[in-house]
């Protein structure tokens, strides 16, 4: 079988238009092209409405796209339903409530993630060997959650829930990890901890990852590549040494350059 693409992720000419034909019509993705090599950890920045989260949602299949192609590790997933592409993806969301089932135990949540891409039948939901594995994984977080495996996830803090969601996302070795502003709803200290855990999980599992963030410092400090989006397009893409040497002021200058005056409003949000 020949592969369509040798990249971990290849996005070709992606279009998405919201509220088409209405007064609120918005071209959210205006021909996005992006190629990720295996092991790439890309941070994505851009102003409000630049299409960062929309790109991630398009990859995840939250709704159908209006044009283009999405290829993960050689498999074209453009037409697949959301739950059918889940085996390729690990996802962590902005709202800590979104990634876990609040009324279920920590171990039950993890067990659901551990069956991702498998047939779910009448076998017991959490086996003894599952439990041991989950305990080991939870220990690596250093949050003491390994002793609370039968607690309802709804009782945990936002940071704890994001940490568990990260574990769940990586549990089945996804082809691509999608982090959608997953620290934006947390206080700075917790956000830093969750970012640290993200780095740890990505490097330990050798994952290819995309992280949307509003925080330029984070975008520079994490990952090996940085992508800037504006009005539904990728307008800047740096990696390697060039990325390491970036400063927030460089990124701000870049923003000013592409957006002219209109960027002044976004500046405060991004700084």
């Amino acid at each position: 079988m020949s592969k369509d693409s040798q990249y971990a992720l290849e996005i070709r000419n992606l279009y998405k238009i919201f509220n088409r034909g209405t007064i609120n019509e918005k071209i959210a993705l205006n021909g996005v092209n992006l190629k990720l090599n295996p092991g790439d950890f890309v941070t994505i920045i851009g102003g409000n409405g630049a299409g960062k989260s929309t790109t991630l949602n398009a990859i995840a299949g939250v709704w159908p796209i209006d044009g283009g192609q999405i290829i993960i590790d050689g498999t074209d997933i453009t037409g697949l339903a959301e739950h059918k592409r889940a085996p390729y993806l690990g996802r962590v969301f902005q709202d800590p409530m979104t990634g876990t089932a609040a009324t279920m135990d920590i171990e039950e949540n993890m067990a659901i993630a551990y069956r991702r891409g498998q047939h779910r039948g009448l076998r017991w939901g959490v086996t003894r060997s599952d439990r041991e594995l989950f305990r080991e994984k939870l220990k690596t977080l250093g949050l003491g959650l390994e002793d609370r495996m039968t607690s309802k996830v709804g009782l945990l803090s936002g940071g704890q829930r994001q940490a568990i969601t990260l574990l769940m996302a990586a549990l089945k070795q996804p082809k691509l990890l999608l982090l959608d502003e997953h620290t934006a709803a947390l206080d700075p200290k917790t956000a830093a901890k969750v970012l640290e855990i993200s780095d740890q999980i990505i490097s330990e599992n050798h994952l290819t990852a995309m992280m949307v963030t509003h925080n330029m410092k984070d975008a520079i400090a994490h990952g090996n590549r940085l992508v800037m989006m504006h009005e539904g397009k990728v307008i800047y893409d740096v990696s390697g040494e060039e990325k390491k040497n970036l400063h927030v002021k460089d990124l701000l200058a870049k923003f000013e350059e592409v957006s002219g005056g209109e960027f002044a409003n976004d500046r405060m949000i991004l700084a």
Partner: protein, 320 residues
């Protein structure tokens, strides 16, 4: 004073065993309602129709010569078919859940009439070896009455055990995740549409089974017997939760206790129902009574929370 003298406590005590049996039977249905209302977070009004469908299927098959026990699984299947229709209306055709279930409920009225042939079909315990009958509670020796209760209780316990097991399996987890957080479920590769249909089928299967039991218990299948059934099911679920929820949550097998509390809620409901009748409430008002019970028990947790929030806010202002 005259009013109180006219009340005979013995009459209430004589009537309660029947209420308990009725509560146990409706407990089957309440378990079904629990699955949709609490686990799936889907207000499924199909049950008003599917309970009568289960009843009609059972009674007509018994009258046609089938053993009453053998009709039970078929009533279950008939209920599942009703759940399938609601599920497909909702997931495949995009009709909002409540409306989809109302459409099924309405169409079942016609279907039930077709099955029954007329509005009411009796099935007498004199002619058939029914699995349940009010006669088993009110007539016969004490030991035979106790045996009936023991059998019925055992059946409910077995049902609770099966559901406990089922919702602990992978597919059961998928149902609970879908009800709790469909976004998370889809992100973990769960086909939430399929799961919804499955849970609706399971729930209405139980409701159909309850219909079969209840028709035999009261000696007839009636086209009207499902009217307001959802309210009774909800009453059982909510009474069980409000009264026994905290007790259940602390236990090791919390979910099994929760399911049991639903059955107990159903029994309590029918005991209170009988009590209100005994107080000489005209039976015409009983639907109003049922609706009020559900409204009150639904409001209690909400008002409690609101009150607690208010108090917390006040405290915050003082401290701030």
């Amino acid at each position: 004073m005259e009013y109180f003298l006219a009340l005979n406590p013995m009459a209430l005590l004589r009537a309660w065993p029947g209420s308990i049996a009725q509560g146990l039977i409706w407990g089957i249905m309440a378990l079904g309602v629990y699955i949709t209302f609490r686990l799936l977070d889907f207000a499924d009004l199909t049950v008003d129709g599917s309970i009568a469908t289960g009843a009609a299927v059972s009674v007509m098959l018994i009258r046609g010569g089938m053993s009453p026990v053998a009709t039970l699984p078929l009533a279950f299947l008939a209920g599942m078919a009703a759940g399938l229709v609601t599920g497909l209306l909702n997931t495949a055709l995009g009709i909002p859940g409540i409306l989809a279930s109302i459409l099924t409920q309405l169409s079942l009225y016609s279907i039930n009439l077709v099955i029954l042939g007329k509005a009411n079909q009796p099935v007498s315990v004199d002619n058939y070896p029914l699995v349940a009958s009010l006669r088993y509670v009110t007539a016969g020796s004490v030991s035979s009455r106790l045996l009936f209760f023991a059998g019925l209780t055992l059946f409910l316990l077995a049902l609770v055990a099966i559901l406990y097991w089922y919702f602990g399996t992978e597919i059961g987890h998928a149902i609970r995740a879908t009800g709790c957080n469909p976004n998370m479920a889809r992100a973990q590769g769960i086909n939430t549409n399929f799961i919804k249909v499955l849970a609706l089928m399971l729930s209405n299967g139980l409701v159909g089974l309850c219909g079969a039991f209840y028709a035999q218990f009261q000696g007839a299948a009636d086209i009207q017997m499902g009217r307001g059934a959802i309210v009774i099911g909800l009453a059982a679920v909510i009474i069980g939760e409000v009264l026994l929820g905290k007790f259940a949550a602390k236990r090791k097998f919390a979910f099994a206790y929760t399911l049991l509390s639903v059955v107990l809620g159903s029994i309590l409901y029918y005991m209170v129902y009988q009590f209100v009748l005994w107080l000489k409430m005209p039976s015409d008002y009983m639907k109003l009574f049922s609706a009020c019970v559900v409204a009150v028990f639904l409001a209690i947790p909400y008002l409690r929370e609101k009150n607690a929030q208010k108090k917390a806010q006040k405290k915050g202002v003082v401290q701030g």
